[in-house]
């Protein structure tokens, strides 16, 4: 069954309002970034003890969403699930945009943004994860472009090849991002498990994002969507969440068990605002409640509940990124083992980090850029399918009902011919 893709008209009030809001976000972010460039990073919440803040959290989060949504496109490209072909284009498009968002977040976080465009490409240091990752990121964007082109031109063989490459690459991209922290010398960073758990969290958040986008877009643009496609994604999401929970458990159990790390583990689990984010935001809102919704038969089969669960996961994984990046920095390094520093010129001991307005605006700005480009893409590229159904008896009956609701009568030959197939 051939699927037709089309552009949206983009003349509705909702579309234009959304475009304007995203553009305003982007402008606010640009202004904030300009002020940071002029004045220096002191106007952000970061300091010499906590050198990374919200922008790095957002970068990791966006890159995760990107890698995750690319996996959804792989359902068609790699595993040949024809029924997911309608979402392939939009998944790759969003994967590309969120990777750009991640790069923008990293860029706007640098002390000298002007040098980022030259120095990393002239002076490589292959021992640094920060040197290896740009290769992975730019490769990811390049692959996404070729992937999109293959999908647009309906090149089946190329699609399979590039989709497989993209699938593997997405794993590398996110493992690489996890390695920035996992291979670091901080007590709460250092963990060979981190790259793997990063990938799991990326899959969960990416799948959840795709569910939200698919259901939302199909509803707003009044397209026919087969519920079963979303139900399966819901089940897939539930499995992803299980894997995330497993990794989180192993990691924290290890830290709490090993004497050397126990104090750090206690700080992580019960030591301040980040602990509230961990238990309330990530564990409860982001993982336990969605898992309950998705595994429960009644709610797990309802599109409305799956969408709610997905929203919670997308939100919860943001907390996960926060509790990876920040507690590792605020927890002090042991410079003088066996000694307790009582007086110093800088913050020793547990450091403080407060998110500043400048950083929030920058983060919103990057989100605005992505949202704007996404909507713009819907209007200028054939990204959305006319419909997304499984072409069997149930699917086709659904389609006929849907068309009838729209006022198109089934006397129309096409649906009948299809039903006959």
């Amino acid at each position: 069954m051939d699927i037709t893709f089309e552009k949206i008209k983009g003349d509705s009030v909702a579309y234009k309002t959304a475009m304007i809001i995203f553009a305003l976000f982007a402008i606010a972010g640009a202004v904030s970034t300009w002020i940071v460039i002029q004045k220096g990073l002191w106007i952000t919440g970061m300091n010499n003890r906590v050198p990374w803040g919200l922008q790095i959290v957002m970068a990791v989060y966006y890159i995760g969403l990107s890698a995750g949504s690319l996996v959804i496109s792989g359902l068609y490209g790699v595993f040949g699930k024809q029924e997911y072909k309608p979402f392939a284009r939009i998944a790759v498009w969003i994967a590309m945009l969120f990777l750009i968002a991640g790069l923008l977040s990293i860029l706007t976080d640098q002390g000298r943004m002007d040098r980022v465009f030259v120095q990393p490409f002239v002076h490589f240091n292959l021992q640094s994860m920060f040197s290896i990752n740009p290769i992975l990121y730019s490769g990811h964007i390049l692959i996404c472009i070729i992937y999109l082109w293959a999908l647009f031109t309906e090149r089946k063989k190329l699609t399979t090849v590039i989709a497989t490459l993209a699938f593997g690459w997405a794993f590398c991209v996110h493992s690489g991002t996890g390695a920035i922290f996992g291979f670091g010398a901080r007590m709460l960073y250092e963990s060979p498990l981190l790259p793997a758990s990063f990938v799991a969290a990326a899959m969960a958040s990416g799948t959840a994002l795709m569910i939200l986008l698919i259901v939302g877009l199909f509803k707003i643009t009044k397209r026919c969507l087969d519920d079963r496609l979303v139900l399966w994604l819901g089940q897939f999401l539930a499995v992803c969440i299980l894997v995330v929970v497993y990794f989180l458990f192993i990691e924290n159990a290890y830290r709490a068990y090993v004497v050397e790390l126990r104090q750090a583990a206690m700080y992580y689990l019960f030591g301040g605002l980040h602990s509230i984010f961990f238990w309330g935001g990530l564990i409860f809102l982001g993982l336990v409640v969605p898992m309950f919704i998705l595994f429960r038969k009644k709610t797990g089969q309802s599109i409305k509940w799956i969408v709610i669960a997905s929203g919670m996961v997308v939100f919860g994984i943001l907390f996960e990124r926060y509790v990876i990046v920040l507690p590792g920095l605020t927890y002090p390094q042991e410079i003088l083992p066996g000694m307790h520093i009582t007086q110093s010129m800088i913050q020793e001991g547990i450091a403080a980090y407060n998110i500043s307005l400048a950083e929030i605006l920058q983060a919103l700005g990057v989100f605005g850029v992505v949202g704007f480009l996404f909507l713009w893409g819907l209007r200028f590229f054939k990204l959305l399918p006319t419909e997304a159904i499984i072409y069997d008896q149930i699917g086709l009956i659904k389609r006929i009902e849907y068309l009838r609701q729209k006022g198109i009568h089934i006397e129309d030959k096409k649906p009948r011919a299809l039903a006959a197939r």
Partner: protein, 246 residues
């Protein structure tokens, strides 16, 4: 094969081999130069000894000298102030008695510097004489080195230094990470680092700098004679600041 084909083949081969060799050298060379592998063992290797038993409580001569010499910024706000060398008070339990010590903390100029390993642009590198230094014209301000440094010795210039006292040294503009340079510019012309000089001037002589590769140098003699300690030796970073009486 005619002459033209032969020339093409030969030219192509030379091009491939030379560019391949260059790429190989570029990549592997970068790794070696960043972290200082393959360095001549007979060359100078600067190291420092801090004798805490001689360090006087309340004295800030070395801190002030460092600030003056290197234009290290002091904004009057603890969040923004930059300290290339800092003095901390630390307590430890000896038996059931609390013992308090004043300790100087600064860049340890590690032989295997984690900061240089993670720098994506090789702005941080280990000089051939063992000094770990930042090229502040190249640093992009990613702050990965601050994450990697186990001694919290790296400091980021969050704000421009408004008091540019020593015009012979850089102003320390915002957006780059820096740390103690062991006053490489002074060592290069045969002068001791500013902190060492200041410490001698107040009559304490608690800080010494010398060639660790020379068995007869003052620092080597102290290290061989006394039980000196280095910070977090177990991390394998090979720090070159040795403490007496820690």
């Amino acid at each position: 094969m005619d002459r033209r084909d032969f020339m093409k083949l030969a030219g192509g081969t030379i091009l491939v081999i030379s560019s391949g060799t260059y790429a190989f050298q570029f990549l592997t060379g970068s790794i070696r130069s960043a972290t200082g592998e393959g360095i001549d063992p007979n060359a100078v290797r600067w190291g420092m000894v801090i004798d805490l038993t001689k360090c006087q409580e309340g004295c800030t001569a070395c801190l002030d000298a460092c600030r003056q010499e290197n234009n290290v910024a002091l904004h009057g706000d603890p969040k923004l102030d930059v300290h290339w060398i800092r003095k901390v008070k630390a307590e430890s339990m000896i038996g059931n008695e609390v013992q308090e010590k004043s300790i100087l903390l600064l860049c340890n100029h590690c032989d295997k510097p984690p900061c240089a390993q993670v720098c994506p642009v090789q702005a941080t590198y280990r000089r051939h004489d063992g000094i770990v230094i930042v090229d502040h014209h190249r640093c992009i301000g990613c702050r990965y080195c601050m994450i990697a440094c186990p001694y919290n010795a790296r400091q980021f210039n969050l704000k421009d230094n408004e008091h540019w006292a020593n015009k012979e040294r850089p102003k320390r503009s915002h957006g780059v990470a820096e740390a103690c340079t062991l006053c490489a510019h002074r060592l290069d012309v045969g002068k001791p680092p500013a902190c060492v000089e200041a410490c001698q001037n107040v009559g304490a002589g608690a800080i010494m700098v010398g060639n660790l590769n020379d068995a007869n140098s003052e620092v080597s003699q102290i290290i061989s004679r006394y039980a000196t300690k280095r910070l977090r030796e177990e991390l394998g970073t090979e720090p070159k600041v040795h403490y007496v009486g820690l």
